[in-house]
């Protein structure tokens, strides 16, 4: 009897990057924006979304290049950019981890006009180079920000952003209660360590006509690395875990 050679179906190459963390995830953050939900998603590991200039003329192809424009992968079109060359962050990498380095002097970027909403969650992968002060996210409106990191700062870590709670690498700050202080964030974001910071249940429906990262000024500019950001409608514990681990994977963290 003739035997046909054993033919196994050819497998498609594994196209998704291997996901670390809990199990193998094929989570795509874009799914939470599929029905037109407001928000944004910046992924500095995806060079296809980065340009060296703010017009998007010169693509980013490697490390130590300026980033003048980063596209929003949420589908909402909230591109973030920096027109002034000297104020652009720089691509960096360590192994498979890609990020944008901000010099803590004048680096940062801003969206154009934006519409956000009440009850949103924000996830930011960040690594401070030093123990300096930082305003992670702010609006062009005065006193409108969240994620303020300040040594021994007793004031609230946010303003005009509702009454959010914070967590670092999945661990609640201030016992998961509202009223997190800048000093508590300073402790939760140690220098030289990647942290996925979560800011839960933000209300960004008033005063958030634009959004900026990195260059608040007044000695509160980010001196360190930005590994990605997702701002989406507030989710349940499962949705939060997915976003947290997604960014954790980007910077080499296994998170709860």
């Amino acid at each position: 009897m003739l035997r046909l050679p054993l033919r196994l179906p050819m497998r498609e190459p594994f196209r998704e990057p291997m996901i670390r963390g809990k199990g193998v995830l094929t989570y795509n953050p874009a799914a939470q924006f599929a029905a037109g939900q407001l928000g944004l998603w910046y992924d500095p590991s995806d060079y296809a979304t980065l340009s060296q200039d703010s017009a998007g003329t010169t693509p980013v192809t490697g490390v130590t290049q300026p980033v003048g424009r980063m596209l929003d992968k949420s589908g909402r079109g909230n591109t973030i950019s920096q027109a002034t060359a000297a104020s652009r962050s720089i691509t960096g990498a360590a192994g498979a981890v890609r990020y944008l380095t901000h010099d803590g002097v004048d680096d940062g970027s801003a969206t154009g006009a934006i519409t956000l909403s009440a009850d949103m969650d924000c996830f930011i992968a960040v690594r401070r180079a030093t123990a300096g002060n930082v305003v992670l996210v702010h609006s062009p409106a005065a006193n409108t920000f969240f994620g303020v990191v300040e040594s021994a700062g007793a004031a609230a870590a946010d303003a005009a952003s509702g009454t959010p709670t914070y967590a670092a690498n999945g661990v609640s700050i201030n016992g998961g209660l509202t009223g997190t202080t800048r000093g508590q964030l300073h402790t939760a974001l140690p220098a030289a360590s990647w942290v996925v910071l979560e800011i839960r249940n933000l209300n960004l429906s008033v005063g958030w006509t634009g959004l900026s990262i990195g260059n608040f000024g007044s000695n509160f500019s980010l001196n360190g690395d930005f590994g990605g950001m997702i701002l989406a409608p507030a989710g349940d514990a499962t949705a939060r875990q997915k976003n947290r681990q997604f960014l954790g994977n980007k910077v080499g963290l296994v998170l709860p």
């Binding site: 060296q52 200039d53 703010s54 017009a55 010169t58 290049q65 300026p66 027109a83 002034t84 060359a85 000297a86 104020s87 652009r88 720089i90 010099d103 803590g104 002097v105 004048d106 680096d107 305003v135 006193n143 920000f145 303020v148 300040e150 004031a155 303003a159 000024g217 007044s218 000695n219 509160f220 500019s221 001196n223």
Partner: protein
């Protein structure tokens, strides 16, 4: 476009002229520079301003050469139909208020000159300056 690193610190007295020259040189790349204030104490008022990062190589060369900056700026003003308000002497004076680092510094280690990296913060400190400390 080729970018090179430069940290440029300018004095208050030349800030207005250098902001205008930078703006006109390349509206897509060097507009909006020199807005971060510095002083010896870290308190207001600012006595200096700083810009730090990757800048076009043409700009980096121009701010090291009064004649180059003057020539390029004249052309840029002319292109926009704006009367050029400076003389070479004024541009030379403006650049005399400029301190520039390419991100490295030469130091002597064991009697050998060695080039080492220098962060913008280290450069600011070497000039006896601090970033203005604001409050929220």
């Amino acid at each position: 476009m080729i970018y090179v690193h430069a940290t440029v610190i300018i004095t208050l007295s030349v800030a207005s002229a250098l902001r205008k020259l930078s703006q006109m040189l390349d509206r897509n790349e060097t507009d909006g520079m020199f807005v971060v204030g510095l002083s010896a104490t870290g308190n207001l008022p600012a006595t200096h301003f700083v810009s730090s990062g990757q800048v076009p190589d043409v700009f980096a060369a121009a701010i090291r050469s009064p004649s180059t900056l003057n020539t390029l700026a004249q052309a840029a003003f002319s292109k926009e139909g704006v009367t050029y308000p400076y003389t070479l002497t004024q541009v030379t004076a403006a650049l005399s208020g400029c301190s520039i680092s390419d991100g490295t510094r030469t130091v002597v280690i064991d009697s050998v000159s060695t080039v080492v990296p220098e962060s913008p913060h280290a450069f600011i400190a070497r000039l006896g300056l601090q970033m203005i400390k604001g409050t929220l």
